[in-house]
């Protein structure tokens, strides 16, 4: 057995050696000639002539297109040489010689080994590809004045942009075709056209169960909804999960129907669309609870101060609205889009957050490693590389909300399930509710029938890793969160003392309704 193997090995090695020999001869020969040429100035000059380049650069267009280009055919009578653009300037001798050697060797190799017909020349005619063989310093060696007197306003704008940010701009980005003329315009400048924000007239039309982008009619606001196919999962955390709390068990087998869930927590843009459309004058605290029958939805009264805490609105998650306000938002959203939006149940939330995973998080890692306790982590700091890219939490948030798209999604494509802000659920909170569900697989549980406080799920920018666990449960604290509201009655729309909770909407999936809609759009 061993002999056979060694024979096989030997054979392979022998083959390799032979191949390598050829290769080596080729390399040594090439290097020697390059070295020889490099040693003599004459050689250097000779190998930089257009004729020398043309000897190999047999692809027929190179020479012809160059002759037609503005770098050869122009009013000044000055003609550039191949190496003026395709090598760095000679006043950077080391760079110049290494690039010259590289291109010489590379081009020779390609010339010998490949058929020019097979090379995709067209693919090299864009500014990114061309960066590999056109040298910006070469441009600037001759074109020393970026602001010649006849430069037009668009050119002036573009050159200013280049001066400000040379990393992300380049000469050939706009002047791509100046070296080889193929009938294209010599300037390939992108003119910036600002289109006004589109105001949506219609909500999104959904005919199949897949991701969609909802549009709020009458606004420029849209948001992504992810299709979450229903299924069965283990809800809660096993008794041995680090930092587990008693209300997270017993683990139950739970089944939920399919639904769509918003990719991110409701943003300020979305929430302000609701506020602007429904906000009411005066104070409607007393009668708002019973306005369900009224045609229009009367929404929040104006908040005091800055509900965004001065952190910025826009795409950051909306915060400080009450659970009641969040539910009113869902009713309003349903009425303007013709769909069934609501808060997720606790079971739906956990199912979506897990995305098929069963650990403490939807990504790898244990809270023990991430948490800043235990002797080792206290001294050396926890290794947070695993958690950092998925969650906005205490460690990386600096104690405030962050724009939602910074983090990586979970397996269902949902972002910030475990961080940025905690999220309201539909259910009332009961610490023992898992044990109270009937035996067997629990289908679409909705929590206790009655209660005072509601479930909130998912960690926030305030939490440390142990409270970011997917099974972690928490609940609203209405009285505490209105502590400093000086008005009587206290607001039913805005919490004065809670800035870490937001919410996420789900849209119910109703097969019958979808099928009804389908024919209309076909």
């Amino acid at each position: 057995m061993a002999i056979i193997i060694s024979k096989k090995l030997f054979g392979k090695m022998a083959e390799k050696t032979v191949k390598r020999k050829h290769y080596l001869i080729f390399v040594i020969g090439a290097l020697a000639s390059i070295l020889f040429l490099a040693l003599s100035k004459k050689g250097l000059d000779y190998t930089s002539t257009d004729e020398f380049c043309a000897a190999c650069h047999a692809h027929p267009h190179a020479d012809a297109t160059f002759k037609l280009s503005v770098h050869n055919s122009n009013r000044s009578g000055v003609s550039a040489k191949c190496v003026d653009c395709h090598l760095p300037p000679e006043d950077q001798p080391v760079y110049y010689l290494t690039r010259k050697a590289y291109h010489g060797f590379h081009d020779l190799y390609v010339f010998v080994t490949r058929d020019p017909e097979e090379i995709d020349w067209a693919a090299k005619r864009n500014d990114l590809a061309a960066k590999r063989f056109v040298y910006e310093d070469g441009c600037k060696k001759c074109h020393t004045n970026l602001f010649p007197s006849t430069l037009d306003p668009l050119g002036a704008e573009s050159h200013l942009k280049y001066v400000r940010d040379p990393e992300n701009n380049s000469c050939i980005k706009c002047h791509l075709n100046v070296g080889h003329y193929r009938g294209e315009p010599s300037l390939t400048m992108e003119e910036v056209v600002l289109s006004p924000e589109e105001i949506f007239n219609e909500p999104a039309i959904v005919t199949v169960f897949e991701d969609y982008k909802e549009q709020i009619p009458g606004t420029a606001v849209s948001f992504n909804m992810k299709a979450v196919p229903g299924g069965q999962f283990n809800m809660g955390s096993p008794a041995d999960e680090p930092y587990r709390r008693p209300d997270e068990g017993p683990v139950r087998e739970v089944e939920v129907n399919s639904f769509w869930m918003a990719e991110v927590e409701v943003t300020w843009n979305e929430y302000l669309a609701f506020f602007n459309a429904t906000s009411s004058q005066g104070r409607t605290e007393a009668d708002a609870q019973t306005d369900e029958e009224v045609d229009g939805i009367s929404g929040a009264t104006p908040p005091w101060g800055a509900p965004d805490q001065g952190w910025g609105m826009g795409s950051r998650p909306a915060i400080t609205m009450t659970h009641h306000a969040a539910q009113t938002y869902c009713r309003w959203l349903s009425s303007v889009t013709g769909k069934k939006y609501r808060l997720p149940t606790e079971a739906e939330w956990e199912y979506a957050a897990r995305g098929g995973t069963e650990g403490p998080y939807f990504f790898d890692g244990s809270p023990k490693n991430f948490e800043r306790d235990g002797l080792w982590n206290k001294i050396f700091g926890p290794d947070t590389t695993g958690i950092n890219s998925f969650v906005v939490y205490q460690e990386n948030s600096p104690y405030r909300t962050q724009p939602p798209l910074l983090v990586r999604p979970n397996p269902f494509g949902l972002k910030n399930m475990l961080g940025n802000v905690s999220e309201f659920c539909l259910d009332y909170y009961d610490p023992q509710v898992y044990a109270k569900y009937p035996q067997g697989v629990v289908k679409n549980p909705r929590g206790p029938r009655e209660g005072l406080e509601h479930v909130i799920r998912g960690g926030s920018f305030k939490n440390t890793p142990k409270d970011l666990r997917v099974a972690r449960r928490d609940f609203t604290r209405t009285k505490e969160w209105l502590e400093t509201d000086p008005q009587i009655p206290k607001s039913i729309w805005w919490y004065s003392d809670c800035n870490h909770v937001g919410f996420r909407v789900i849209c119910e999936y109703d097969t019958d309704e979808l099928n009804e809609k389908k024919p209309k759009n076909q």
Partner: protein, 446 residues
């Protein structure tokens, strides 16, 4: 150390090298790269009169009162200076200016007088060396570029544009002028005023310590306006009432307050990073502009400048600048105060016969500007002020945008903004434009 950062040592070294040259111009455009280079010209010595030399022939574009005044200021700057051509959009303005100059014994050849939107092109074909640009600021970027392409030295009034696109065009043309060795002086006369310059020198050498905050204000009664006369089409009406239309004037936060903003930028050695502010319109009779602005400019590191501008009669009207430092403060114009309010240093004005301070500089700053221009040309030491004035203009535009929109506006926004005000084409006749007074933010529901 980053060059546009403000530190006493940096200032000392720089000011020793370049005298009282403005540091504010320090390549604000390339603030994100380190390739910024300081304004490296040596400011011409402040002479009472420009040195003799080659004859300089000047043409005036924009024949209103300021243009006419600037023409006379130019002629007063030295010997062998001539006004040889006039241009304005309106014929009556040209002849009006012509006759005012005749009264001052200045005879401009009548065949060198041009009017119409393209009059400036005809003027640039006349054999002349210097062009004075004094039209409404809307037209400045176009006229300035044409003047530089025609290889003329330029004196131009502030503000130098009305929108971000125009400001950036001025900056680009300014670079052209530098490359061509031409001189460009702008009408930011405080920078040519000896008391301001000496005070700047004091502050730059550490008289008030590190700068911690600033304030600038231009609060005055209402300014001139024209109500529409019979027979004026839209364009003629707006041009004759240009000081009240934003696309022509840029609003008074540019038109007048840019002076104060320019001083703050100068003394702080950089332009602000962002602006939040507000404004409104309560008393104006014509046009589409605001009556008042209050802008908080943020310079970074906890340094702010509060900018106020107002044009309303019967209010607490005053104007000036104030810069606070760790070791005292200054009015920028002539006095350095200790932190307790006592005077630490004061500029010495010329004295009158009774030995009392006259309180004004020896040479009018409006003439000094032209002395400095002619000196730069004749001593072959070119000076180009256009970029730094464009930066101050763009700073004012940032404040205006913050007030008009209610948003926080950053310098980066200004460098990327595609806002260009005014009609596509200039022609006399009715103009299809709306002039809503800007309303910040959004309306809440009733």
């Amino acid at each position: 150390m980053e060059k546009n950062q403000l530190s006493r040592r940096n200032f000392l070294e720089q000011s020793a090298l370049i005298g009282a040259a403005g540091l504010a111009g320090i390549s604000a455009l390339s603030s994100c790269s380190n390739k910024s280079k300081p304004v490296d010209y040596e400011f011409p010595p402040l002479l009472d009169k420009a040195p003799d030399g080659e004859k300089l022939r000047a043409g005036l574009i924009g024949c209103g009162n300021r243009g006419t005044g600037a023409a006379l200021n130019f002629l007063a700057a030295g010997n062998d200076l001539e006004m040889v051509a006039l241009a304005d959009v309106f014929e009556d303005k040209v002849w009006d200016c012509h006759s005012k100059l005749v009264k001052q014994m200045v005879e401009v050849p009548k065949n060198n007088c041009f009017w119409g939107f393209d009059a400036y092109k005809s003027l640039l074909e006349v054999d002349l060396d210097v062009v004075i640009l004094a039209t409404p600021p809307h037209f400045r970027p176009e006229h300035f570029d044409a003047a530089i392409q025609a290889k003329k030295h330029v004196f131009m009034e502030k503000p130098v544009s009305v929108d971000p696109v125009g400001s950036r065009q001025i900056i680009a043309t300014s670079k052209k002028a530098e490359n061509m060795g031409l001189s460009v002086i702008t009408g930011t006369q405080r920078r040519h005023q000896r008391d301001y310059l000496e005070t700047y020198r004091q502050v730059a050498s550490g008289a008030i310590g590190e700068i911690t905050s600033a304030k600038a204000w231009w609060l005055q009664s209402h300014v001139w306006f024209r109500t529409r006369e019979e027979g004026w089409n839209d364009m003629e009406y707006m041009l004759r009432n240009w000081n009240n239309f934003c696309w022509l004037c840029g609003d008074h936060i540019l038109d007048t307050h840019v002076h104060n903003i320019d001083i703050v930028n100068w003394f702080l050695g950089k332009q602000p990073e962002s602006a939040i502010g507000f404004g409104g319109r309560v008393r104006r009779l014509t046009g589409d502009q605001y009556d008042f602005f209050s802008i908080d400019f943020e310079f970074g590191n906890g340094v702010f400048s509060h900018s106020m501008s107002r044009q309303v009669d019967g209010c607490a009207n005053t104007l000036g600048e104030l810069v606070m430092g760790t070791d005292g403060y200054t009015n920028c114009k002539n006095t350095i105060f200790n932190p307790d309010g006592s005077v630490k240093w004061q500029y010495e004005y010329p004295k009158n016969r009774d030995g009392k301070s006259t309180g004004i500089v020896e040479v009018s700053p409006y003439v000094q500007e032209h002395i400095d221009l002619v000196t730069a040309i004749r001593t072959k030491k070119p000076v180009v002020e256009a970029e730094r004035t464009a930066i101050s203009t763009l700073t004012a535009i940032m404040g205006r945008t913050a007030a008009y929109t209610g948003q926080k506006v950053t310098w980066e926004d200004m460098l990327n903004s595609t806002e260009r005000l005014g009609p596509e084409k200039y022609e006399m006749g009715d103009v299809n434009m709306d002039f809503p007074v800007p309303l910040p933010g959004t309306q809440h529901k009733a």
